[in-house]
Amino acid sequence: MSLLDNVWVVLAVKLGLAVVILFALALVVMFAELKVSAHMQHRIGPYFAGGRWGWAQVFAEALKFLQKEDLIPRDADAPVFRLAPMVSLLGTFAVIVIIPLSPVLVAGDLDVGIFYALAAGSVSTIALLMAGWSSGNKYSLIGGLRAGAQLIAYELPLVLAVVGVVIQAGTMSMVGITEAQAQPLFHIGSVGISLPYALQGQIIGFVIFMIAALAELVRIPFDMPIAESELVMGYLTEYSGIRFTMFLLGEYAGMLAMSAIASVLFLGGYHFWGLNADWFGPFVLIGKSLILVFVMIWFRWTWPRLREDQLQSLAWRWLVPLALANIAVTATLKVVL
């Protein structure tokens, strides 16, 4: 009996790997946000810390935040105030369980995979409401309410956009969905050609999913809950030091998790034409995810912030009916063909 037969050892290894990969990538994304933003505005961005390119900037900031005083306002509901960042990160870590880096490198390939991910991801709504309500601050309260309304409104397009993929794949398991996209769709000569779902008619679903994901992550152009020109920092106004950092980390880890899910559902996951998924799978999936993360950062410097009612209008008038139409068309084609 080898060591890898023990359930707990395997679980510990998986947790260790997932945490190391997630943190390494989250630091990369944080740094990319600083640098990409800077270059899009014709600035240099961080250049001092660590020497070349200012690569140590994110480490310096983490250390700085660790040394900041942990302030809890007198009017705050202290237990809830302390719990909110925990709930926020708890949701993110629960989601990464199902992301498959390769056919075997997956913490838990649940049968209800994507459905579970959407359910676990929506826990962050509660975290933001907790943060907004417990701060005992008017800006936080308004920000928290906006966040709650926004997150539940965009939860629907997000969920409904996924249904099209589930119909095509006939399974909710993330590995199953990835493998379904690797099946040859047609043959040229004797070479089978496979296409990711984004190119198999789910392009509308992909666009809806990415828009809704941006709103779920409260990123520009959907950052009304933390709009700095109106609400200081929204539900994060009263947070300082390490707790604030944890929310920030949750945002970047969330960007990665959402991008990875979108890559698996619509872009073929760990498969790429001509590359062996067992060996190159992790690099392919991470590459696809980082491209989507770059697009998210790019959007930030492209569009102005929407107004609160425009945001709700976009979700209810356009995205939800469009996602439902997408389901109807996909289902009809699946049954007829």
């Binding site: 359930v7 679980l11 998986k14 997932a18 935040f65 660790l66 040394q67 900041k68 005083e69 942990d70 302030l71 306002p73 007198r74 009017d75 925990m86 990160l89 708890l90 993110t92 870590f93 629960a94 369980v97 913490a107 838990g108 649940l110 459905f115 579970y116 005992g136 601050n137 008017k138 309260l141 309410l145 709650g148 309304a149 539940i152 409104a153 629907l156 969920v159 409904l160 249904v163 589930v166 119909i167 006939g170 909710m172 030091g241 390490i242 707790r243 950092t245 609160e308 009612d309 709700q312 209008s313 209810w316 008038r317 939800v320 009916p321 439902l324 389901i327 109807a328 289902a331 049954v335």
Partner: protein
């Protein structure tokens, strides 16, 4: 037995780690950070002036409407996934059933929009 619960355990361990991480980070911070509480630091932030009234106030009824609208569709989302997985085996009958279901729900959404719940200008 352990195999049956393995997925649940995996999920619980990963989720628990998220909460633990915050606790650990706050603990490490406690070793490094100063603590000099004062009355001024503990007041709610309102751009520098003393806060006016309490932090918890009456809120806008419109947010409540969105929660109701959400309920209409969230139940549907839970129903639609098992249907989507088994659609190929169920065939035409299930397709027609779900289209009827979706149309009924869409009627609810159209009603809400016609009632003007998405209009914020008076």
């Amino acid at each position: 037995m352990a195999e049956y619960f393995q997925d649940y355990i995996t999920v619980a361990v990963f989720a628990g780690f998220g909460a633990l991480l915050v606790a650990a980070a706050v603990g490490v911070g406690w070793l490094l950070r100063p603590s000099r509480p004062s009355a001024a630091k503990a007041t709610a932030y309102e751009c520098g002036i003393d806060p006016v009234g309490g932090g918890w106030s009456q809120t806008h009824i419109r947010y409540y409407i969105f929660a109701l609208l959400f309920l209409i569709f969230d139940v549907e989302a839970a129903f639609i996934f098992p249907w989507a997985v088994r659609l190929e085996q169920l065939g035409l009958f299930a397709l027609v059933e779900m289209v009827i279901f979706i149309v009924i729900l869409l009627a609810g959404l159209v009603y809400a929009i016609r009632k003007g719940v998405l209009k914020w200008e008076s």
